[in-house]
């Protein structure tokens, strides 16, 4: 049994335009993947592919116009789709937790760091303030913040980006969650700080018997930290498998193009920029969603593509994957 199983998830945005016509943007079109205990899964793809929306769908925090129209999200064999806000509140922040890309603005500007670490515990468990405080200091040490006693009294605006991200990680992990979703956790941080934060995350996930999803468009991060990778395009996972396997033998044309766009590879192989506009979510192409950009597209690609096993635990959503 996997920790998290997302199956055939469809999330749409429903809006009315100025002519009072209902317009539906099909943002997620059958996302399926799983996350097992102890592994870090990388979710990659161009912006607009639906990576963050997948995370929001899992967390049950969608905007007013977005809704899950089909599919299931099972966490520890519990169905999350259809849960009430209160039921979800018991899961969010305690069982599943998330770190976001803007750490400084994500902290309450009017509370000291320590109070926020204490608050996040007491929201979920009946913990005495002193006990919560002790745990908070411990957690700050775990995320390698020097002089934690003093940091407890710091205001968010006094923190550097890297420091704030560590605090956020501390907040995310303090309730001992099972699953951590990190949405672009290192954008906006210095390269050296990026590596420190990711190493820390990596160590913590492995030492605490957790699992993590890292959402990123940086294939380098995936290569270094993720055991498995899921490549998203146009609201669907087009290829998934062990990171090494997928990076060595990409079978979906989009994955190939994505990998070829990485600067070092591009130089070596003579590949180039990832070209083409993201699809129009209001009027998706029929059949394979990638067919309008695919160099290998044939007449068959007008049909719905099958999910083909192309290696051990390695699958691609492409008519031509087996060839």
């Amino acid at each position: 049994m996997s920790l998290l199983e997302v199956e055939n998830l469809h999330t749409h945005f429903v809006k009315r335009d100025l002519r009072n016509q209902v317009r539906v943007a099909r943002a997620l079109n059958g996302v399926s993947f799983r996350v097992d205990r102890g592994e870090i899964v990388g979710l990659v793809g161009e912006s607009g592919a639906g990576k963050s929306l997948t995370a929001s769908s899992i967390m049950g925090l969608l905007g007013k116009s977005a809704r899950i129209v089909q599919g299931s999200i099972r966490f520890q064999d519990q169905e999350l789709v259809g849960m009430t806000a209160e039921q979800l509140d018991a899961v969010r922040g305690s069982e599943i937790t998330m770190i976001v890309q803007s750490p400084i603005t994500s902290l309450d500007p009017l509370s000291r760091v320590g109070d926020q670490l204490i608050r996040v515990q007491r929201e979920h468990h009946a913990v005495a303030r002193e006990e919560a405080r002790r745990r908070a200091i411990e957690m700050l040490m775990t995320v390698k913040i020097p002089d934690p006693e003093r940091r407890m009294r710091a205001w968010p605006h006094e923190l550097s980006g890297g420091m704030a991200q560590r605090i956020l990680i501390a907040m995310a992990l303090i309730n001992a969650p099972k699953l951590l979703i990190a949405d672009e956790p290192t954008t906006g941080l210095d390269v050296t700080v990026q590596a420190q934060v990711l190493d820390l995350l990596n160590d913590l996930v492995r030492s605490r018997d957790m699992a993590a999803i890292i959402i990123t468009h940086d294939l380098g991060i995936v290569a270094n930290y993720c055991t498995r990778v899921a490549v998203m395009f146009s609201g669907a996972i087009v290829e998934t498998g062990p990171t090494r396997e997928v990076f060595a033998r990409p079978r979906h044309p989009y994955t190939q193009a994505l990998l070829d766009s990485v600067p070092e590879r591009a130089k070596r192989r003579g590949g180039g920029q990832l070209s083409g506009a993201p699809p129009n979510l209001y009027a998706l192409p029929t059949g394979c969603l990638y067919n309008y950009r695919c160099s290998k597209a044939t007449e068959t690609c007008r049909g719905v593509p099958p999910l083909i096993d192309v290696g051990p635990d390695h699958r691609a959503l492409c008519h031509h994957a087996s060839a």
Partner: protein
């Protein structure tokens, strides 16, 4: 997400117009209601002579202070003038002050804002300081003092309102310009060799005016409020002009003796038009600003 929506059957003509009206009402009921109210008042102003049986300053000595009746729908005032006719004609004063005042604000404010935003420097500083002074101070008192001191004509009222509100307009345009200046559109226009002035007139001006649309309505509402307030206090436009503020002032004397209609009806009209303009402005702001219309 960016490409246009392809639809199989496009509605046409009246059906389309109706669909758009329904859609617009759904998006911003305030905008639609506001537009409707303003249009009604515009029609009243344009058709005033045909809508009323009596001239607004015609006196009926036998009917002084008579209440609403079939002959005088809104009653008569202390001079024996028909309140209904005066209220309807009052909308001419409202537009007659608000439109020139708005034009004046724009004639002064828009170029000032354009230059300040595009060039920055001393002009920008001057504009911001002027704005600071005006912001720190209730402008209505300045308007009052100046109009009272300089004479009681409608021209003065328009000039004073226009000048006092121009910096606000300038600031709105300025911030629009600042936002646009760094945009790709303007950068591209400069890159292909357009002159600064051309870029300002062709690209920045229309965009910034579009951004200031909502403010136009709100400023007009403000102009009407200020001019009627001045008239109520007794400076600016004077009796027997059929101006709403003047009429409320006249009616105020009779409120305590029970002749309520003299002050009530012009007030209702005044609230109606100002509300219409504010609704329009509020709705336009929502429609033009994608940040507000789709609050996640």
């Amino acid at each position: 997400m960016t490409t246009a929506f392809v639809q199989t059957r496009q509605p046409r003509g009246l059906v389309l117009a109706w669909a758009m009206l329904v859609g617009l009402t759904r998006r911003s009921p305030t905008f639609v209601l506001g537009t409707a109210i303003v249009l009604v008042f515009a029609a009243l102003a344009a058709l005033a002579p045909w809508l009323t049986d009596y001239r607004p300053t015609q006196t009926f000595p036998d009917h002084v202070l008579s209440g609403p009746s079939a002959q005088f729908w809104f009653g008569t005032d202390g001079n024996g003038m028909d309140v209904f006719s005066r209220v309807i004609h009052g909308s001419q004063y409202a537009f007659g002050i608000a439109i020139p005042a708005l034009l004046l604000m724009m004639v002064i404010g828009v170029p000032a804002g354009l230059i300040a935003g595009y060039r920055g420097g001393a002009i920008d500083d001057l504009l911001l300081r002027t704005f600071d002074v005006l912001r720190a101070f209730p402008t209505i008192v300045l308007a009052l003092a100046v109009v009272a001191a300089t004479g009681q004509s409608i021209v003065i009222v328009v000039l004073v309102i226009g000048f006092l509100e121009a910096p606000i307009f300038a600031r709105i345009v300025r911030s629009e310009v600042l936002a646009l200046r760094s945009s790709e559109l303007v950068e591209a226009a400069v890159a292909v060799g357009n002159s600064t002035w051309r870029v300002m007139l062709v690209h920045v001006l229309p965009n910034s005016i579009r951004g200031a649309t909502a403010q136009m309505a709100i400023r007009m509402a403000w102009a009407i409020r200020v001019s009627t307030t001045l008239a109520f206090i007794g400076v600016g436009i004077q009796a027997p002009a059929p101006e709403w503020g003047v009429m409320i002032r006249q009616g105020a004397e009779y409120i305590n003796s029970g002749e309520w209609w003299i002050a009530t009806f012009p007030g209702v009209a005044l609230v109606g038009l100002v509300l219409g303009l504010n609704l329009f402005g509020d709705g336009a702001q929502d429609l033009l600003d994608p940040k507000h219309s789709d609050s996640r």
